[in-house]
């Protein structure tokens, strides 16, 4: 059986190998057919490297590229990588895929902004902002699933967090209390999820769906009953951006990463914190043991149930911060079902990032980029209907999930309730 399985795996690997090469060539063809063909020879594309708003960062000159030669260059790069992959093959396709993806996005931007100017820094900065709730959702997912509890209720938890932050923040006139309320409410939902899936051993997808329906219903109900009637209950204000001293002065990087509000910095901190805790502390080792082989962990004296409860509730607290970002972190008011699937996209980011905080954060940035691209392109009046651009994040999620870019292996016990014997 082992031999047959290995053979099958080899066949799949070979097929994927050829597929990747063909995919690279297709990208080259796509750039050629859609971008090169429709670009006049004497146009230039200007990328602004300074933010439009007042900034502490050092100024950079704008990046001016001749549109058509740049597009040809990118086509050749993709075609070359595709040919090389088919003829000789890369040992690891990861970086080549990165280059091709980058080339495609660059070609798209150069084409979209041909004869015009586009503020690149502004777009990247908004990509970071849009990736924050996705990243926090992904962190929540990591905390839960590393302990083998599947959490598809992140969406509902964030929605509740967004609602509570707006409501409590408005009542108390304190954004911090709003943030705390968001975390507590989301943590409470997480506790319910934990009880349902750990104690009652309800199928975790079912219990997650229940919490999503419940959260959608409750927040819409309370919003219709109170927030829409009494406008002063839905006016919490927002956390103002704080440029970080020194860091924000770095050109390009400063305005993209270090001129945001406190929730963004909390996300950065959580990224480091969860990474270190998961891989370098006793708690992390226990968590991972519970996720991979709960029986073994139990035998060695780790309390499987307690670990799962703690992790799920911590995940809920993190998701609450993500929810608060929607209201007191960006628009300053609550609207019904405003999370719009970001919790699910966060799950996809978690899978894409192979259940590691760093990977998940990286993929969140990609999703955030796809999201902010669509608004920028609308401004540039690219002749693609905005609905199709809005589809991009969802399509990217599906492509990622299909494992086009390598297989992701979840924690071995993911989703299985633990029975103590």
């Amino acid at each position: 059986m082992a031999v047959a399985a290995r053979n099958a795996e080899l066949t799949i690997a070979r097929r994927r190998h050829v597929g990747t090469g063909v995919f690279f060539l297709l990208v080259a063809l796509l750039i050629l057919a859609f971008f090169v063909r429709t670009t006049a020879p004497d146009l230039t594309t200007t990328f602004g490297l300074n933010p439009a708003r007042l900034t502490t960062a050092l100024k950079l000159p704008d990046l001016v590229l001749p549109s058509l030669p740049s597009l040809w260059f990118l086509t050749v790069v993709c075609a070359f990588l595709g040919g090389w992959q088919l003829a000789k093959g890369f040992r690891s396709t990861g970086w080549a895929l990165g280059v091709v993806a980058f080339a495609f996005v660059a070609a798209f931007l150069i084409w979209a902004a041909r004869g015009k100017s586009m503020n690149l820094v502004g777009m990247l900065s908004s990509s970071v902002l849009r990736s924050i709730p996705i990243a926090l959702a992904a962190f929540c997912g990591i905390l839960c699933e590393r302990a083998a509890v599947i959490n598809i209720a992140i969406e509902g938890m964030m929605l509740t967090g967004a609602f509570m932050a707006a409501w409590i923040g408005s009542i108390t006139h304190s954004l911090w209390i709003g943030l705390l309320a968001a975390m507590l409410a989301s943590g409470l939902l997480a506790a319910i999820l934990a009880v349902l899936s750990i104690k009652f051993k309800v199928d975790q997808i079912v219990s997650g769906t229940v919490i999503n329906i419940f959260a959608t219903g409750l927040t819409s109900y309370l919003s219709a009953k109170f927030l829409q009637v009494y406008q002063n209950l839905n006016n919490p204000g927002i956390f103002k951006p704080i440029p970080l001293p020194l860091l924000s002065r770095i050109p390009l990087i400063g305005p993209v990463f270090f001129e945001h509000n406190i929730i963004v910095y909390i996300t950065f901190l959580l990224l480091i914190l969860i990474h270190v805790m998961l891989f370098y502390t006793r708690w992390g080792l226990r968590t991972r043991a519970v996720g991979e082989h709960p029986k073994a962990a139990d035998t060695l004296g780790v309390n499987v149930f307690r670990t799962r409860y703690i992790n799920v509730i911590m995940g809920g607290l993190v998701a609450g911060i993500g929810g608060a970002f929607f209201t007191i972190g960006s628009v300053g008011r609550f609207d019904e079902v405003m999370t719009a699937g970001k919790g699910f996209i966060g799950l996809a980011a978690m899978i894409f990032g192979k259940w590691t905080p760093l990977g998940a954060f990286g993929s969140s940035i990609i999703f955030g980029f796809a999201d902010s691209l669509q608004t920028k392109l609308q401004i540039l009046q690219v002749p693609i209907p905005s609905e199709f651009l809005l589809m991009a994040p969802y399509l990217v999620t599906m492509i990622v999930l299909a494992g086009v870019i390598g297989r992701a292996v979840p924690p071995a016990a993911d989703g299985q309730p633990y029975e103590k014997q």
């Binding site: 082992a2 599947i150 598809i152 349902l196 009652f200 309800v202 199928d203 975790q204 997808i205 079912v206 219990s207 769906t209 229940v210 919490i211 329906i213 419940f214 959608t216 219903g217 409750l218 819409s220 109900y221 309370l222 219709a224 009953k225 109170f226 082989h293 029986k295 073994a296 719009a340 699937g341 699910f344 799950l347 996809a348 899978i351 209907p385 609905e387 199709f388 809005l390 589809m391 969802y394 399509l395 999620t397 599906m398 999930l401 299909a402 494992g403 297989r407 992701a408 292996v409 979840p410 924690p411 071995a412 993911d414 989703g415 299985q416």
Partner: protein
């Protein structure tokens, strides 16, 4: 494969084999009583908690509770009034007002005028009309469950079905009704089926979990329909609405206005019977259920898991598409954006409540249709937002999925569990 992993697999296969046996064996007689009692108690308990939500979000009642200890009677009376007005509006909005019925009959006897009678029957007709998409969508989710697939994409599939069938409905001209109507109806079903089959294909070929894929495809479907209704399929004018369908594509109506009750109800019942026959009396159904109970055992028995995942997703999507087609051909006769407003999502609760069995689904759909059409009335008469329905649904699923809570609340004896399907197997294969 390490020895530990092999042993773990062995263990999980044992329990899965038991699950297969459980599913395919008839439930024991004794548990039938609880199989009926538990859903009833679940709905009852959800209504009670819903009442508490209504009371404690009623500002006037809350003000009375501030001096509860001075005048407890006042607060309690106001609470009772709040609940009673909400739930009586729910009842009158969904079943009808008994006084109105009596009055309408006496008018009919004296003058022969049927207008008051039609008015009196209007709530119940609306409830049935609302139940129809629920039956289709509930069957869709239930059929997915039977194959171990969690189709959260019913909502998007409803949109795809509606788009396809409204297109056939308005663009094809000059056909007699007995061709045009079925053509429009089944085009909608087929389009939605193909749409959903993508998720099945992805699951079978790459192991990508259908839950996330169907959710993503929901958003894509909404955006697609937005684009179509604002562009290619827009009728002349400002609003994003499709042209009206030809008369020959209408599902027949039986009564004059305002009664909207139409033939879709009987189509839905027939389809439910068909699904029952397919699932429980044919080889195809047996294979689908085997894959749902235990894919590993099914594969070992020579059943193609890949084929069944794709087939079940196709059928599930087609059923959801029928819900969309039904709304277009039977109720709206055109397509406006955001027409479905949650039938697909509600149907998850509905399928769980109906235990994924066609008969259960039809009963649960009647209940949900009644609740929903009543809730519209409750919103306008008693000022209770319609979203209370979502809260009730969530509570119902919790109690159905964790029957231990209901057993504990009502001190029921534990009986053997029957036919639990397991969806969660991690995100990969």
């Amino acid at each position: 494969m390490s020895e530990q992993k092999e042993r773990a697999l062995q263990n999980s296969q044992d329990t899965r084999a038991q699950a297969l046996a459980r599913l395919l064996l008839r439930p024991a007689r004794g548990s039938l009583w609880q199989a009926i009692l538990l859903p009833v108690l679940a709905v009852f308990t959800a209504l009670i908690i819903g009442a508490l939500v209504i009371v404690f979000t009623d500002v006037q009642v809350l003000n009375l509770y501030k001096d509860f200890f001075a005048a407890p009677g006042k607060a309690l009376a106001a609470s009772w009034k709040s609940i009673a007005s909400a739930y009586s509006a729910l009842f009158k909005g969904s079943i009808g007002n008994p006084a109105e019925f009596a009055n309408a009959f006496s008018v009919l006897r004296e003058t022969g005028d049927t207008a008051p009678l039609r008015q009196a029957f209007w709530p119940i007709s609306e409830s049935l009309v609302t139940s129809v998409p629920y039956i289709f969508a509930g069957l869709a989710v239930a059929l997915g469950f039977q194959c171990g697939l969690f189709n959260i994409g019913a909502e998007g599939q409803i949109f795809i079905g509606a788009l396809a069938s409204v297109y056939v409905g308005y663009s094809v001209k000059g056909l007699p009704q007995y061709i045009h109507l079925p053509l429009a109806f089944f085009t909608g079903a087929a389009a939605a089926g193909l749409w959903a089959a993508v998720a099945g294909l992805l699951k079978a070929k790459t192991g990508a979990h259908e839950v996330i894929n169907t959710i993503m495809m929901n958003y894509i479907a909404f955006l697609l329909s937005d684009w179509l209704l604002n562009g290619p399929m827009k009728r002349p004018g400002w609003s994003p609405i499709s042209p009206a369908i030809q008369d020959s594509a209408w599902l027949p109506k039986f009564f004059p206005d305002p009664l909207r009750f139409h033939a879709g109800f009987f189509v839905a019942l027939a389809i439910a019977a068909l699904v029952y026959w397919l699932l429980f009396k044919t080889t195809i159904g047996f294979e689908i259920r085997s894959v749902g109970a235990n894919p590993d055992a099914a594969r070992y028995a020579g059943i193609s898991v890949t084929r069944n995942f794709i087939l079940a997703m196709f059928l599930s999507g087609a059923l959801a598409g029928m819900a969309g087609a039904n709304e277009v051909l039977g109720v709206n006769h055109q397509l406006a954006s955001a027409f479905s407003s949650g039938y697909g999502f509600d149907s998850i609760a509905l399928a769980l409540l109906g235990k994924s069995h066609p008969v259960g689904v039809v009963l649960a759909a009647l209940l949900f249709g009644t609740l929903r059409s009543g809730a519209t009335r409750m919103q306008s008469l008693a000022g209770v937002p319609i979203d209370i329905i979502s809260i009730l649904q969530a509570l119902v699923i919790i109690f159905i999925a964790a029957p231990a809570i209901i057993r504990w609340l009502y001190r029921l004896r534990l009986e053997r569990e029957v036919g639990e399907t397991v969806f969660t197997r991690g995100w990969g294969q």
